[in-house]
Symmetry: C2
Subunit: 145 residues, 2 copies
DNA sequence: CCGGAGTGTTGACAACTGTAGTCGATCCGT
DNA sequence: ACGGATCGACTACAGTTGTCAACACTCCGG
């Protein structure tokens, strides 16, 4: 599915980031951004770009002499699976503190914070109330004790 | 620093996880756990273990014919820097949703949730109150009322 | 004291990464 | 139409990673 078989290497991630940022990027742009951001020669970027196409992360639609590169996988989804992998390596019990640190050192918008808060509230609820499986109960709120 | 120059590869992470779990592990144990967990031959594990020692992630104190392996870097710290790297690859604005997803799909204890909640509350505060940054109100007294 | 069992060391090797040069095709301005 | 600027394809190459087999060494039980 939206899953990615092939993993990205660090350098590839950097290029992907640029592609995601540009949304639809022409070689030139990618080269220059990558150039000043990582001091990579154009050739290096070309190679990485090619590998990304091979791995199916970006599409290259021909236009003019070259291509226009476009991300095929969403940034969020990709990051998510990377995060998943990370948590897989986490020793049981370390996930909590880990998340805490991450929340701590990441600058978030108010909306993000709100979202997280509700998430947490919800989780707390399902902890208190025994894992009654599908709490189909639509959040009509007032669970009033 | 507690920082790690060398990065761990996936396979290495898996071994590290075992070492962290065992806390102090003898070859035998690592081999067997790794064996049934990833169907690796002992030799493979030996190699990984050696590389981990080289990279400074585990110590090998001689005992008997072999060694006792012990983690040198804490699991949390290591995970943390991995998480850091991950966020570095994140496109601006994706961090919030990413964290949300992570919190969502991770099972957390009540304590963890509480911790996160306070973190979030704190963050919200500092957002509302102008980023007056270092409000290092040091009790040198007389802030004059 | 000896031999088997368990360990670490070496050596291998293919695939994947990080970086980049060279070359021929192509496009645009003049 | 021509030449310079671009661009992608191909090639290269050292270093890292994933997996192991062979071999040599040490320790314990008999």
């Amino acid at each position: 599915m939206t899953a990615d078989q092939k993993n990205l290497s660090q350098a590839e991630w950097k290029v992907m980031k640029i592609v995601w940022e540009l949304e639809k990027a022409m070689a030139r742009e990618v080269y220059s951004v990558a150039g000043e951001r990582h001091s990579w020669t154009p050739t290096t970027v070309k190679t990485l770009l090619r590998r990304l196409v091979e791995k199916g992360y970006v599409s290259a639609t021909p236009v003019g002499n070259g291509f226009v590169y476009r991300p095929l996988k969403g940034a969020l989804a990709t990051l998510e699976s990377a995060a998943d992998a990370l948590f897989t390596n986490a020793v049981a019990g370390a996930t909590g503190p880990l998340l805490a640190r991450m929340v701590e050192k990441t600058s978030l918008s108010e909306a993000d914070l709100d979202a997280l808060q509700s998430l947490i509230d919800a989780k707390k609820q399902s902890l208190k109330k025994p894992p009654e499986s599908k709490r189909a109960r639509k959040p009509d709120g007032r669970t009033r004790s």
